[in-house]
C-alpha cells in the first residue's frame, strides 16, 4: 500500500503541473493582445459611448470612467492621454472598456487642470466592412475631450438605495461609495432592526464624525441616530429633513405629516403631500428639542431646513396651509407652492430673528424646494417644480442656482437666480455640495425613468456648472439592469467608521435620549410629538 501511495505521488504532481501550465496557456491565449494601430480610417464624428463621458469636467481623484462603446465592431481600443504622462491603452474584444485604475489615477493626478483625451478605435467585423474600408484597418473616431479639474471631489458619497417603491420597507439601506474606486459598503440596512425605514442621513460639514440618521421601525419605534465622535446614541424622536449648524451644536429638522398618493394617469405615479409640517431644532449639548414661532406657524407648512455657511441664517421652505382635513388629499393639491424664506439665528444665545422671504413662489410661479448652500456661503442651489414638496416625483423639477452674495438689485427686487444648463426633461433633485464647494452630486431620472441615478458636476468659482457625469461603475452596463433607486446623495470627506452592527444594536436598544416637543402641529389635538411609527403603507400579511 505504501509503495502504491508513493507511485501515485509523481502522477499527482505531474497532473498538477499540467493543470497549471494549461491554465497559464489559456490565460495567455485569451489575454487582450496589444496591437500597434498603424493606419486607420478617420470617422468624422465622435463615437457613441455610454455613459456619456464627453465634454465634461471630471474630478482628478475619481474612479476610472469605464464606458461602453456603442459602435459595431469586432475589436475595440481606447487611448487615453493628456499633456503629461504615458498614454493609457486599453484593448478589448468586447465594447466594454475597463480602464486600469492605477494608470488612470496617475494620469489624472499629474494633469490637473489639463485636458484629457479619449481616442476610440473600432475594428469592424469582417462581414460588415464597407468596400472602401478594408477589414484589417481600424476606424478612429473624433477625439473625446474632457477636462480634469484642479480640485478633488470628496472621497466618499453616501446615499440611500431603495427599490422604486418603498411602501413595505422591505429592502432599504444607506451605502457609502469610495469615489476613488468602485467599492461600495453598507452603512446600515433595515435588516439590522427587523425591517423599517431609514433615511435623512445628514452630515455636519461633510464629515462623518458627526451625523444623524432617521429611523422608523414598527418594532423599535421612531428615532434619530446621533453619531458624535465615535459615540452612537438614539434620540427618541424621528428627525425629518435635517441640517447641521456649521458649529455642530444644533441640528434643525422638519417634522412632516407625510401623505403619499397616486396619479391615475401620469408618467410618475406617485406624489407626496405634507398634510402638515413644521421645523424644530435639537440642541446637542442640552439634548433638548425646541422650536420657535417663525419655524412653526399654524397656518404654514415648513420644511427642508438648511443653514448658511456662517450659521447666521436658517433657510427653509414655507407654504400656506389651506386645509384642515388631514385625511384627504385636497382638490387643490397642485396649487401648493413653497416659498424660500430665511430667519436669522444667534447660536450663542439661541435667539431667532424675523422671518424674511428670499424668493417667493408667486414670483417664480413654481414651488421652491431643497435649498442647499455652498460651503463658502456664496451659492444657493435649489430646485423648483410645478407644485408640491417632493421634487423627485415631479418630472419638471429642475436645479437652480442663486448668488447670495451678488449685489441685490433695488431693494424691492429679489435675489438673482438662474436655471442650470445641466437639467434634463426628467426630475433633478437631492443635490449636495462637496466640502470645497467645487462639486455637486444630485439625483436625476434622466434616461432611466423611475430609477434615480447619481450625477456629479463641477462648479467653478463663478458658479458655472459644467456638464455632469454619471457616477461611474466598474461595469459600465451596471445601470442598464439596476433596479435600485439611488437617492439623497451626500458627499463626505471620509467613510462612516461606525460599524453597521453597532448602529443596529443602538436602534434595537431601549436606551434613548427622551425629548419633548413644546408645540404641536396645526391640529386641534395638543400633546406629544406626532407618531412616525406607521409607514406610509405598512404591509399586512
Amino acid at each position: 500500500m505504501k509503495q502504491e501511495h508513493k507511485s501515485k505521488m509523481p502522477r499527482v504532481a505531474c497532473a498538477l503541473v499540467a493543470c497549471v501550465l494549461i491554465i497559464c496557456a489559456l490565460v495567455y491565449a485569451f489575454r487582450e493582445n496589444k496591437v500597434a494601430i498603424g493606419q486607420y480610417n478617420s470617422v468624422a464624428r465622435p463615437p457613441e459611448i455610454y455613459p456619456d463621458y464627453s465634454r465634461a469636467v471630471i474630478p482628478p481623484n475619481i474612479a476610472p470612467l469605464n464606458f461602453l462603446i456603442q459602435e459595431s465592431g469586432a475589436h475595440f481600443c481606447l487611448k487615453i492621454y493628456s499633456k503629461q504622462g504615458p498614454t493609457i491603452e486599453v484593448f478589448s474584444r468586447s465594447p466594454k472598456i475597463m480602464i486600469p485604475e492605477n494608470a488612470w489615477h496617475k494620469l489624472l493626478d499629474m494633469n490637473r487642470a489639463e485636458q484629457l483625451h479619449f481616442d476610440v478605435f473600432v475594428k469592424p467585423k469582417a462581414s460588415s466592412s464597407a468596400p472602401k474600408m478594408p477589414n484589417d484597418k481600424w476606424n478612429k473616431f473624433d477625439t473625446i475631450t474632457n477636462k480634469i479639474a484642479e480640485e478633488d471631489i470628496d472621497s466618499y458619497l453616501v446615499y440611500r438605495k431603495i427599490p422604486p417603491v418603498y411602501a413595505a420597507w422591505r429592502q432599504m439601506g444607506i451605502y457609502q461609495r469610495n469615489l476613488h474606486g468602485f467599492d461600495e459598503s453598507l452603512v446600515l440596512s433595515n435588516k439590522y432592526f427587523g425591517e423599517g425605514c431609514l433615511n435623512c442621513h445628514t452630515f455636519c460639514n461633510n464629515r462623518t464624525d458627526k451625523m444623524l440618521v432617521g429611523i422608523r421601525s414598527p418594532q423599535y419605534g421612531s428615532s434619530a441616530l446621533l453619531i458624535d465622535n465615535g459615540t452612537v446614541s438614539k434620540i427618541g424622536t424621528k428627525f425629518g429633513y435635517t441640517a447641521w449648524h456649521p458649529t455642530g451644536r444644533v441640528a434643525a429638522y422638519s417634522i412632516n405629516k407625510v401623505n403619499q398618493f397616486f396619479h391615475s394617469s401620469r408618467t410618475e405615479i406617485r406624489d407626496v403631500l405634507d398634510f402638515d409640517s413644521l421645523l424644530a431644532y435639537y440642541l446637542v449639548d442640552s439634548k433638548t428639542v425646541k422650536t420657535s414661532p417663525p419655524l412653526a406657524k399654524k397656518d404654514r407648512l415648513e420644511t427642508y431646513p438648511t443653514w448658511s455657511a456662517d450659521g447666521r441664517y436658517l433657510y427653509f421652505c414655507s407654504a400656506p396651509l389651506s386645509w384642515s382635513d388631514h385625511r384627504t388629499v385636497p382638490q387643490n393639491y397642485d396649487q401648493l407652492k413653497y416659498d424660500l424664506v430665511r430667519v436669522s439665528y444667534d447660536v450663542d444665545h439661541d435667539q431667532w430673528g424675523e422671518l424674511e422671504t428670499v424668493l417667493s413662489a408667486e414670483d417664480t410661479g413654481k414651488s421652491i424646494l431643497l435649498p442647499r448652500i455652498s460651503p463658502d456661503g456664496r451659492w444657493l442651489l435649489f430646485c423648483m417644480c410645478d407644485y408640491g414638496c417632493f421634487p423627485v416625483y415631479q418630472a419638471g423639477s429642475d436645479l437652480y442656482m442663486m448668488d447670495l452674495k451678488a449685489a441685490r438689485q433695488p431693494p424691492e427686487a429679489s435675489y438673482k437666480y438662474r436655471r442650470l444648463d445641466i437639467n434634463s426633461d426628467q426630475s433633478e433633485s437631492w443635490h449636495t455640495w462637496s466640502s470645497n464647494g467645487r462639486w455637486i452630486a444630485y439625483s436625476s431620472k434622466r434616461k432611466s425613468g423611475v430609477f434615480t441615478r447619481i450625477y456629479l458636476a463641477y462648479v467653478d468659482e463663478q458658479g458655472k456648472v459644467y456638464k455632469p457625469i454619471l457616477l461611474p461603475q466598474k461595469d459600465p452596463t451596471y445601470y442598464d439592469s439596476c433596479l435600485w433607486t439611488f437617492s439623497v446623495p451626500e458627499l463626505v470627506t471620509e467613510p462612516v467608521r461606525i460599524t453597521k452592527e453597532k448602529l443596529g444594536r443602538v436602534v434595537r436598544s431601549s436606551r434613548k435620549i427622551s425629548v419633548d416637543m413644546p408645540v404641536t402641529m396645526a391640529t386641534p389635538t395638543a400633546g406629544a410629538l406626532p407618531s412616525h411609527d406607521e409607514p406610509w403603507r405598512q404591509e399586512r400579511q
Binding site: 413595505a168 396619479h263 394617469s265 408618467t267 452592527e501
Partner: protein, 671 residues
C-alpha cells in the same frame, strides 16, 4: 505489484455499474425499495404537487428567490454568511418553473438527505435505525404538499449534514490500525480538532446559522460515541465562537443574524405568517438527527444490552429465539416473528409496505388542494390559459381571488355577460378588495392591465416587487406597462433585468430588439391596443374608486369593451340597475349584435320592477327571457315570497341567472 480489490483488472467495469453492483450485493432488496420510493416521490411531486405552482407562488409564498445571471448578482451573496447556499438555492429553485425539473430538484434534495442520514447511522454503528433515513424525505413531502417554501433552510441543513458525514468519515481514520501516523492520541485529536475547525469555518460561510446542526452532531458524536468529553467541550466552545468571529466581526452581520440566518427560527421566517407555514416540520428535520443521536448515545452508555445497538443478524435472531424457548414448540407470535426475521424478502416486503403506506398517508393528508387550486388558477391566468382557469376554478370557486380570475377568463372567452353567475360572485371580487392588499395586488394586476388601468397596475406591481422580490412575472409586466406609457428608459431597465433571468430571456430580448428597430412600438398590436384603452384622465380619486375608474375608461375610449363589461358587471353585482340601463346605449359603439343573456335578465328586472321603459334600439329581449322572468316570479310567489322555501327550486332552474343573484345576493349554485 500488490494486488487486491484495488488491483488492476483486465476488464474495465464502468463506475456506475460498480456502485450498483456494490449496493445490490449489500442489500439488493433495500436498493430496489429505495429506488421505487424515490421514483414515486418524484412522480408525486411532479404530477400532484406540480412545483410550477410553487414558482407561481399564488401570492402566498413571499420568499421565493429570484435569480439573475451575472457576476453582479452573485457578488452580493458573498458579502454575508449563508449567502452561497442562498445563491445555490435561488438557482435551483428556478427549475420549479417546469414541474418535472422542479420535482427532480426536490427529489435530489430528499435523496441526499436520505443518503446522508443513512450514512450517519451506519457510521455510529446503529444500522438497525437506518430506516430513519426515510423520515426526512417524508417530512419534505409534507412541506411541499402544503405548498410551503423552505428550500433554503433545508438546503442549508443538507449542506451541514454533508459536512457531518465528512467529519465522521475523515475523523474515523484516526482509529485505523493501518495508519499509525494517525493513531489515537494527541496527534489524532489535533487532527480532528483541525478538521472540525476547517469544516466549521467553511460551513459557516456557506450556511450561517445552520452550522449549529453540524456543531451539535459533532459534539454529540465526540461526547457520546467517541467518549472524548474534552473534545466535545472544545467543539461546543468553538461552536459559540465561530458565528461571532466570522459572522459579526468578519462579515459585519448583526449578532441576531449571525446566529440565526438560514435557521428556521430566523426572524426572516418567523416574522411572516405565510413563511411560518409548516415551519414545525423544518424544526423536526433539524432536530431529528441530533435528538436521535443523543438518545442513542445515552443508550450506548447506560443500556449496553439494548437490541437497537446490536448488529442485525438474520440467522442469529432465530437461533436466539430457539434458545429462549428450548424444547418448546414456538407459539404463533413467535413463529411469525421468527419467519419475519428469518426471511429477508418478507421483512423487506413488510417494511416497504409500511414505508409506502406512511409516505402515502402523509402525501394524502397533507396535500393542500385549496392552495394548489389558487396557485394553479393564478398560474393559468398569468399565461392566459382560460379554459384551464375555468376548469380549475370549479374545485374552489368561492375565493375572491378565484372569482377575479374567472371573470377575466370569462371576459376573454366572450362569456362574461352570459356565464358569470354560473360561478360565485361578489362585488369585492370583480376588481378585488381584500384585507391583505398586497396579496390582492398579486391577483389583480393583470385585470388592471387588460382594462387599461396602467398606473394602478404599475403601482401594485412595484409594491408586489417589494414583497415578493424581482419575480420575472412582475418584471415582465412592469416592462410592458412602461412600454405602453412610452417610458422607454424604465422599460429598458426592466427588460435588461428580465434578460438576465433563466427562462424569460427570449421575451426580453425580443422587446429589446423591437425597441431598437421600432422605438415607438407602433407595429406592436398588443402595445397599441393597451395604449388605446389606457386611462387618460389624471385624478387621485380615480385610483381607488372602481366605478369612477371604469366609467372614466369608457369616456376615454368608448370601444373599451372590457371596461364596459366590467362596469355592467359592477352595476349588476351592486344592483344599480338604473345605472346599468343608462349604459345600454353603448351597445352600438361596442358592436353587440344581440343582448347578452344576463343583460336581458337585468333589463327585465329593471323594467318589471320600476315599470320604466328602457330604450334598446333594434334589440329586444328574447321571448325565452320574458318567459323565464315570469316563471321565476311565479315560482317565488308560489312560495309566498319566502326566500329560503323557494331556494331549492329556484336554484335548480335559475341558479346561474341574474334573477337568482338579484334576489339572493349570491350565485354559482346551479350544478
Amino acid at each position: 505489484m500488490m494486488q487486491g480489490s484495488l488491483g488492476k483488472s483486465s476488464n474495465r467495469t464502468p463506475i456506475w455499474a460498480l456502485v450498483a453492483k456494490c449496493a445490490c450485493r449489500r442489500d439488493p432488496l433495500g436498493t430496489i425499495r429505495t429506488f421505487i420510493f424515490f421514483a414515486l416521490f418524484y412522480l408525486y411531486i411532479w404530477l400532484v404537487v406540480e412545483p410550477r405552482f410553487l414558482y407561481a407562488g399564488g401570492g402566498v409564498i413571499t420568499n421565493f428567490p429570484v435569480f439573475f445571471k451575472g457576476w453582479e448578482f452573485f457578488r452580493h451573496f458573498l458579502s454575508y454568511p449563508g449567502g452561497l447556499v442562498e445563491y445555490l438555492s435561488a438557482f435551483l429553485s428556478q427549475f420549479f418553473y417546469y414541474s418535472w425539473t422542479g420535482a427532480l430538484v426536490v427529489t435530489l434534495q430528499a435523496w441526499l438527505l436520505c443518503l446522508c442520514t443513512g450514512y450517519f447511522f451506519k457510521a455510529i454503528n446503529t444500522p438497525r435505525l437506518r430506516w430513519v433515513r426515510f423520515v426526512p424525505p417524508i417530512l419534505l413531502l409534507a412541506v411541499y404538499a402544503q405548498y410551503a417554501y423552505h428550500f433554503v433552510t433545508i438546503a442549508a441543513l443538507l449542506v451541514a449534514l454533508i459536512c457531518v458525514s465528512l467529519y465522521i468519515k475523515l475523523s474515523s481514520k484516526t482509529e485505523s490500525p493501518t495508519s499509525p501516523s494517525l493513531a489515537k492520541g494527541p496527534a489524532g485529536k489535533l487532527f480532528d480538532l483541525a478538521l472540525f475547525l476547517v469544516l466549521s469555518v467553511i460551513l459557516y460561510a456557506l450556511v450561517a446559522g445552520a452550522y449549529f446542526f453540524f456543531a451539535a452532531l459533532s459534539v454529540i458524536y465526540e461526547l457520546l460515541f467517541k467518549r472524548r468529553w474534552q473534545m466535545a467541550l472544545l467543539y461546543l466552545l468553538l461552536a459559540g465562537a465561530v458565528p461571532y468571529v466570522q459572522g459579526v466581526l468578519f462579515f459585519g452581520a448583526s449578532i441576531i443574524d449571525a446566529y440565526t440566518d438560514s435557521l428556521p427560527l430566523s426572524w426572516k421566517i418567523l416574522s411572516w405568517a405565510t413563511r411560518r407555514e409548516m415551519v414545525e416540520i423544518v424544526y423536526a428535520l433539524y432536530l431529528l438527527l441530533p435528538l436521535t443521536a443523543f438518545g442513542l448515545g445515552l443508550l450506548r452508555i447506560f443500556g449496553q444490552k439494548s437490541p437497537l445497538l446490536k448488529k442485525h443478524n438474520k440467522g442469529r435472531a432465530s437461533r436466539d429465539l430457539k434458545k429462549r424457548l428450548p424444547g418448546k414448540p414456538p407459539n404463533l407470535v413467535a413463529a411469525i416473528l421468527s419467519t419475519y426475521t428469518a426471511s429477508p424478502i418478507l421483512r423487506c416486503l413488510i417494511e416497504s409496505v409500511a414505508l409506502f403506506a406512511i409516505a402515502g398517508a402523509v402525501a394524502f393528508f397533507f396535500h393542500n388542494d385549496e392552495q394548489k387550486t389558487l396557485s394553479a388558477i393564478h398560474h393559468y391566468a398569468c399565461r392566459r390559459m382560460w379554459p384551464q382557469v375555468l376548469h380549475t376554478a370549479r374545485r374552489n370557486p368561492n375565493s375572491n381571488f378565484v372569482v377575479n380570475a374567472v371573470n377575466r377568463a370569462l371576459y376573454h372567452t366572450g362569456r362574461l355577460a352570459y356565464d358569470m353567475f354560473s360561478y360565485p360572485q361578489h362585488p369585492d371580487a370583480l376588481l378585488l378588495t381584500a384585507e391583505d392588499r398586497v396579496l390582492a395586488y398579486w391577483h389583480k394586476f393583470d385585470t388592471q392591465i387588460d382594462l387599461g388601468l396602467m398606473n394602478m397596475a404599475e403601482k401594485n406591481l412595484v409594491e408586489c416587487m417589494e414583497v415578493y422580490g424581482e419575480h420575472p412575472t412582475i418584471l415582465k409586466r412592469l416592462a410592458l406597462i412602461n412600454m405602453v406609457k412610452a417610458n422607454y428608459g424604465s422599460a429598458k431597465v426592466y427588460l435588461a433585468a428580465l434578460s438576465k433571468t433563466l427562462f424569460h430571456t427570449g421575451w426580453a430580448k425580443n422587446y429589446q430588439a423591437r425597441l431598437q428597430s421600432d422605438p415607438n412600438l407602433s407595429n406592436d398590436a398588443y402595445i397599441q391596443h393597451l395604449r388605446s384603452v389606457c386611462l387618460k384622465n389624471d385624478h387621485g380619486s380615480l385610483f381607488y374608486a372602481k366605478q369612477n375608474a371604469l366609467s372614466t375608461l369608457l369616456q376615454n375610449n368608448s370601444k373599451n369593451r372590457m371596461a364596459f363589461e366590467y362596469l355592467m358587471a359592477w352595476f349588476m353585482l351592486t344592483k344599480q340597475l338604473d345605472k346599468f340601463t343608462e349604459n345600454i346605449k353603448r351597445f352600438d359603439d361596442l358592436g353587440y349584435s344581440e343582448i347578452p343573456r344576463l343583460y336581458e335578465e337585468a333589463i327585465l328586472i329593471y323594467v318589471y320592477g320600476t315599470k320604466k321603459p328602457v330604450y334598446l334600439g333594434d334589440r329586444q329581449p328574447t321571448p325565452e327571457a320574458r318567459r323565464q322572468i315570469e316563471d321565476f316570479s311565479q315560482t317565488f310567489n308560489r312560495y309566498r315570497r319566502n326566500k329560503p322555501a323557494a331556494f331549492s327550486e329556484l336554484a335548480d332552474v335559475y341558479g346561474d341567472s341574474y334573477f337568482f343573484y338579484h334576489l339572493y345576493g349570491f350565485s354559482g349554485v346551479k350544478q
